[in-house]
Each structure stands twice: as C-alpha cells, then as structure tokens.
Amino acid sequence: MGIREKPTRMDQVQSWRADFPVEYLYTTGVAGERFAKTLRERGMLAATRCQRCGVTYLPPRIYCQRCFADLSESWVEVPLQGVIHTYTVVPVRATGEPSQSLEVIAYIRIDGTEGGILGRVAVSPEAVYIGMAVEGVLAPPAERRGAVTDIRYFKPILS
C-alpha cells in the first residue's frame, strides 16, 4: 500500500500512540519577581514606565518595546481597576467538558497603563458590555502565592 494503492477501511491502517512527557521551570526574572511580590504583599499591580515614550507596561517588562530603553529602575504601582476592552462568554471549559454555568472572560485594560490582564468577570452575560468599569478581587493575604491567579476574578465597580 501507499501512494500507488490506498486503503479503503480504517482497520487496514495502523497508528502508534505516544505522549510528550516533558516538564519545565519558568524563571520569572526581574520583572516577574517584582510583579509577584507587589501583588502578594500589597495587592497592587507592578508596572514599568518609559518616560521617553510615555508608555506604562503591564505585564511589566524591564525594556521598552518602542525605544528599547532599560526600564529596570522605572517602576509604578497601579490598583486592580480597569475597563473591559473586549469579552467573551464561554459555555465550555478548556478541557472540553460541558459546563452548566456560563462564565465571562474579558481582556481588561488596567487604568494608568497601556496594558492589561485577562480574567474572569463576575457578571451575568446579559449585563456585561465593552467599556464596563471593573475591579479585581484578590485572594486573602494568607492565601496569596504571588501569581496572577491571586486575582480571583473581577467585578463591576458600582457607581
């Protein structure tokens, strides 16, 4: 069989099943460590600011992607507040298992920065809209691990 002659039934072909058993450590680096520590200890978001470009980076980076300046000494802290830039309502979990409850996932532009964060928003799918002001809800201080998952979810800011 092959290019000259093709099988017509699945039981005529064979496959070999295997997986990719690899694990990694990801060094968080200067920016990642500062971000984690600030979130864990003060419940704030650490960002870097390029004065020359007038741009604040979140997630923080120790370089400016526009002018290539070194930003490792140029930090600001901003609260977990922002605006929904875009959102989706997801009925199925990443694993493919059907989920009874719908969840709102949004990309949130964080106030005072040019960046933002991906997160879940505790709001009904009918009520969410682009431009909605939201704030982050953090895990209690004792439960924080210094990871982005310390931000449990976002919720609408009631005005």
Binding site: G2, Y26, A106, V148
Partner: protein, 381 residues
C-alpha cells in the same frame, strides 16, 4: 523584486479530515513527487530545501532532522522554519536573490488528525506566568478579537456568517477541498457557540495535507516550456507576543506585511491592481479584518461581496473555499493558498477559475495566539 523570482512548480495532497493511509513523511513524498513533475525537475537539481514545521504540531522535538529524506534532500542544504508558510517562501526568495540557489523547494505540511490534544498545544503557546494560568480556551482568544472587531466596525454577526456561506459554497467547486457545503446565514448562526460571539461554523475545521512549491530564479524560470508565476513582492511581520499589547480589533501585522509586499511589487493602488485574493479565514471574521488591512475592501464592501456570486465581481476572495471550505492545516495553510493562486494565474483552477486572474494576493496568519502573518503578491508571466 529586480531579478525576478518565480513559482515554477506546485504539488499538493488533497486536504482531508484524516489521512490514515500515509504517514507524515509519505504525505510529503507525495506532494514533492507532484511538485517536481509540475516544475519539470527532480530533487538532484534543487539547490536548497526549506521545510516549515513546528515541533508541537509534529509530535517530535528537533523536527528539522525529519525533513531531508522524503524531499530528496539528503546531503543537501536544508533548513527548517518554525513559522508561517509565507516566511518559508520569503526565505526561498532570499536564497535566490542572494545568488545562493537557482532552484529551491519549499515544503509545508500538517497531519492535524494525529494531534490528540490541540488545546494543550495552544495553552503551551501562552506566556507561562501571566497568561497560561488563567486557563482560557484557544477559541476564546479568537472570540475576544471577533467581539472587538465587530464593536469597532459596527458590523453585525451575520456579516461573519456570510463569509462562511460564501467560502463553503466556493469549496464545492474545488476538488482539493474537504468541507464544501450549501449553508444559509441562518444555519451558520444556529450552530453552537464556542465562545460568544464565535460559533462552531465560524471556525475552519482541521485538515491533513502537504504542499511543496518549487521556486526559481528568473534565468531558470524562463527556460522553454515552463509556466512561471512571478513573486512580485513579499512581506511578513509580527505585532507582539503579549495579549496585553495587541490591538484586538485590527490585523496590524497584515497592514505592515502588505506595505512591505506592495512596495516591493510597485503596487500603489491595490484596489485597482489586484484581481483576486486568497485571504486567511481561519476564523470567518479574519477574512473581513484581513481584507481591510490589505486595503482591498472596507468591512462594509467585504460584507456586501459575500452576498453575490464570488467568481466574477470586482474582487473574488477565496475562490478556493479558503480554510473554512478547504480545511485548516496550520502553517501549511499559507502554502496551499499560494498553490491556489498559482493555478488561478496559470488559468488552471478549473471550475473555480477567476476570469482574468493576472495579479493576485495571498494573506496569511499563524493562528491563535499569534500576531504573525504575511502577504505575497503574485503575477502572470
């Protein structure tokens, strides 16, 4: 390009949902055999070989070591590009323009049906510290883009459904396409939501396949009896790897790629100078977004076009059926579309031939979560 670089030969395997009859290497062998015959050459005459592959789509690490034998490239210059198909084609242009090679084979493939964990492959592409732990499914990233695109353009979701109807209908006339169908906008909008507003039928289904293109210098391409299609301009760009930095509503990588390709091709009025387009439609909204970035159609014009017949009109888009109609084959997708454009310009596209197709554009995208894409302008001899 001054000296001229041409596509001299094309070989593809038909895109199919599964391909149990051949291994990955054998699929490539089939495509390569066809390409060498089409170009009137043989592997011994090829000066350099380029393979497009991505380890996680192959299921092997250091995949470049898997390339040479099935292309006839043992003991020859070979390199692998883990990128978009058009980045591979650009590398072939550079080899030729720099005088290193006169004849280059560019190969792309994907056996999508052999990947059992597409979601995990996607998750590994996200930043491990800021993005991956949030646990967002891949289609949700596309849905976030689609929502922002509709918000910024004011288009209704039905405009996106119109792209699906058109491309799957076009695929009915393409024997290489796997997913031709007669659908209505209502049927598309009744398909299940993956992540609102993105529905199952807005998403191109996976397909297995392999493509080989033979690219030649002007001197080689002008030999008697050949049918060169000229690469007039090519461009590629990456916006940013960070979800936090991207524009979400616009395909900025296409804007930059198109500027580069048009400048090289001497195209100043794309709407007048380009006769047809093969445009990435991995997700249906992407076709509309890419056409705008290519300065070919406004979102409103593109929407209008999906309603009419698609082979004549002012700008036939995805006469092949696109990825929605042919099937999505990861980084090989762009090379399938270059193959389609080559046949259109040669007048060999059969029942989906665009009349008067002399100058065409192909626009590619590397899929979620990337902001990488390319543009190539192809022209008749």
């Amino acid at each position: 390009m001054d000296e001229g670089v041409a596509i001299l030969g094309v070989g593809v395997t038909p895109l199919r949902p599964i391909s149990p009859e051949l291994s990955q290497r054998e699929l490539i062998f089939e495509a390569a055999t066809k390409a060498y015959i089409d170009a009137g050459t043989e592997p011994a005459e090829i000066h350099s070989f380029i393979s497009i592959s991505e380890d996680f789509h192959e299921g092997t690490s250091i995949t470049d070591e898997y390339t040479p034998d099935q292309l006839g490239a043992i003991l020859r210059p070979v390199h692998t590009i883990a990128g978009d198909g058009l980045q591979g084609l650009a590398a072939a242009c550079m080899l030729i323009q720099s005088g290193i090679a006169d004849l280059v084979a560019v190969e792309g493939h994907c056996k999508t049906s052999n990947i059992l964990n597409h979601e995990e492959v996607f998750a590994m592409a996200l930043d491990p510290i800021y993005e991956r732990p949030v646990g967002v499914p891949s289609h949700a990233i596309a849905a976030l883009e689609m929502r922002r695109y509709l918000h910024e353009t004011g288009l209704p979701e039905e405009a996106v459904a119109g792209v699906v109807v058109k491309n799957r209908r076009n695929a009915l006339r393409n024997p290489l396409a796997s997913y031709g169908a007669s659908l209505t906008v209502e049927e598309v909008q009744a398909s299940p939501l993956l992540a609102s507003p993105l529905r199952v039928l807005h998403t191109s289904p996976y397909a297995d396949g392999a493509v080989v293109l033979i690219v030649a210098s002007a001197a080689r391409a002008r030999r008697k009896g050949r049918k060169p299609v000229w690469i007039k301009g090519i461009g590629w760009a990456t916006e940013t790897p960070w979800l936090a930095e991207r524009s979400w509503g616009r395909a900025t990588y296409t804007v930059v790629s198109a500027q580069m390709a048009y400048r090289m091709a001497g195209i100043s009025r794309p709407r007048k100078e380009i006769h047809f387009a093969e445009v990435d439609d991995t997700y249906a909204y992407k076709e509309l977004q890419h056409l705008q970035a290519l300065e070919l159609l406004t979102p409103q014009e593109a929407t209008e076009l999906t309603r009419g017949g698609d082979f004549e009109g002012p700008l036939p888009v995805n006469a092949s059926g696109g990825s929605l109609g042919m099937g999505y084959c990861f980084d090989a997708t762009a090379l399938y579309r270059v193959a389609e454009a080559t046949w259109q310009i040669r007048g060999e596209a059969g029942s989906h031939q665009v009349p008067g197709a002399r100058t065409g554009v192909v626009c590619s995208w590397r899929g979620v979560p990337t902001t990488t894409g390319g543009v190539v302008v192809l022209q008749a001899d």
